[in-house]
Amino acid sequence: MRVPHARRRSRRRERELRPVRRVRLAIPAVVGACALLVAAPALGATDVRRGQVWFLRDGEPVAVSRTAPAMPGLLRALLAGPTRAERAKRLRSAIPAGTDVRTLTIARRVATVDLGSRFAVGRDEASLTARVGQLVRTLRSVPGVVGVRIRVEGGVPVGLFPGYDLRRTVRAPLASQSAPTFRDTQQLLADLGFMAQTGVTGRPGDETTVAVLAFEKWRGMARDGVLSAGVLKALAHATRPEPVRHAPGKRVELLLDRQLALAIVNDRVERVFHISSGAGGRTPSGSFRVYRKERLSWSVPFSVWMPWASYFTGGIAFHEYGYVPAYPASHGCVRMMARDAPLMYAFATTGTPVDVLRGTA
């Protein structure tokens, strides 16, 4: 049979167009598959081969790996608590045993978990806060989840979990108490009297270093001015220095063993200054009073200018000096940092008592 010319042409054209159509059909399919692949982890549709479940060791959050099928599996692993081997490694869970999951859904990258009433059992605030932290950390570790909404018995917990407002989506667990910012540490040093409030900048600098050095001297630690873990730990529980002697009014205590000067008002230490006194015990101990003040004093025996000088006995004075090491280094005077000397000059007015003390530690 002879095929008409027009029909033959149509068939040829159809054969030519077939691959193009295939490609056109394939594009949406590939796009759809990609979208599913991206969304799948968040939806919990595919297996999360290795996920993180968060427990506690000595109250601090610790992540352990679990091979669990998707988010519900991780949640079940969390509620089941640490294994026997993990318990042997001091891992604990604040979530009460027997807590059940009523529902677990995810929408717009926010996981909503509805738990049984056992989740809210107990009155220990630390435990209640920690269990929310465990739950949020575990669910947030699932790729694609950016927030967690917690419900108990289908309702919104209000005031049950200290530190968390569960009426809103929880984006992150509460920050650990053991990690203060640099600014927090500076504020702490200022609160304790080791530096001025103006030094709280959030940026490292010599003022902070000197404040740390003064704190180390007060606590009898190694005098290096470094904000080490040991210093941070000591700062976390430090209280403001107390004067050695008790007397009313304004006065200064010079602690030769600690190389510190305390500016005191009514038995309250207003400021602690890093100083360097006379080497080899050249600064005499005893009770004196400021008797002479010179904005810029000239030392005749040593031919040197001494700015902000407050003399309290003989030729011994508090004054500014360019080099204030962490040990006694002067010829008898009390060297002070350029930032601190004007403050001491303003504080120690004429007649202010100065108690120079050895052995105060």
Binding site: V152, P157, V158, G159, L188, A190, G193, T239
Partner: protein, 276 residues
């Protein structure tokens, strides 16, 4: 003809179902505050403002797993009134709901302080918990015996709080007080000695020092203000406010209120020494 018959049928059906629809449209039966006899099952409203006073799970208007000083007091108070708490409902924010006429509750223990608005909306009982300002000292500071002893010290309080006002009006210290942004900052200032004594609400003083006993000084006393939190009794609820007052007096005298305060607030504000 057919149309007219159909219309008639529809009209009859509509008339027949109208009462049922009307009944369904009515709000769910509230506790009957109009009953003459005292109710046996009480609906108690909670404020959910302070976790130590009351906390729970809010589902709709209902509060499940209610706990805290006021929730516990409501249960005990109900028993003393010969009734029991049927359910708790949320009253948030307390004042706005207090202004509403039909309450839907018999008693409200929602951190309510006596005010003209509150008195207009409900009958108020005697105070069950004082809202005085308490003084917490830094370590090593001698206990003040009077307000005058505090004047020479550096005081601190939360910025814009009632306690900051108390410092300005009742203490009038020699040096300007430190005003903190948050409770944590206030505690830090007291711990480090940046201030000598902090004024905090007596209700919160126990929680303020809890866990920091070795770093802070004692709660030295309170400034008597004469104010306190009261129970609101819904008008027409069948409950007698005198019976509520009598029950509260008995609870105070037998130490129940003090025990509740120590359990939920960390200390009994009423037991603190008053500073004058």
């Amino acid at each position: 003809m057919r149309n007219r018959r159909a219309f008639l049928v529809i009209a009859v059906c509509a008339l027949a179902t109208a009462p049922i629809a009307a009944q369904a449209a009515e709000p769910s039966p509230q506790p009957s505050p109009t009953a003459a006899a005292p109710p046996v099952q009480l609906v108690v409203a909670l404020g959910l403002r302070d976790p130590a006073l009351d906390a729970g799970v809010v589902r709709g208007s209902e509060v499940l797993l209610a706990r805290g000083y006021e929730a516990e007091l409501a249960r005990i108070l109900a028993r003393r009134l010969g009734a029991h708490v049927d359910r708790f409902v949320a009253l948030r924010p307390a004042l706005r709901l207090m202004a509403g006429a039909p309450s839907g509750w018999h008693l409200a223990l929602a951190g309510i302080e006596p005010s003209r608005a509150a008195r207009g909306a409900a009958v108020l009982s005697d105070p069950y918990l004082t809202t005085d300002a308490a003084v917490v000292l830094r370590r090593h500071l001698p206990r003040p015996r009077s307000v005058a002893d505090l004047r020479g010290h550096l005081l601190c309080a939360l910025r814009g709080s009632e306690e900051a006002r108390t410092i300005a009006t009742a203490v009038r210290p020699a040096s300007a007080p430190l005003l903190s942004r948050s409770v944590d900052r206030l505690r830090e200032q007291l711990r480090t000695g940046a201030c000598d004594a902090a004024l905090v609400p007596a209700i919160q003083a126990g929680r303020f020092v809890r866990g920091h006993g070795s770093e802070l000084g004692p709660v030295a006393g309170r400034f008597p203000s004469g104010r306190g939190l009261v129970v609101a009794v819904a008008r027409g609820s069948g409950l007698d406010v005198h019976a509520v007052n009598a029950a509260l007096t008995r609870l105070r005298n037998d130490g129940t209120l003090g025990r509740l305060a120590r359990t939920w607030l960390g200390l009994d504000p009423a037991a603190l020494r008053t500073l004058r």
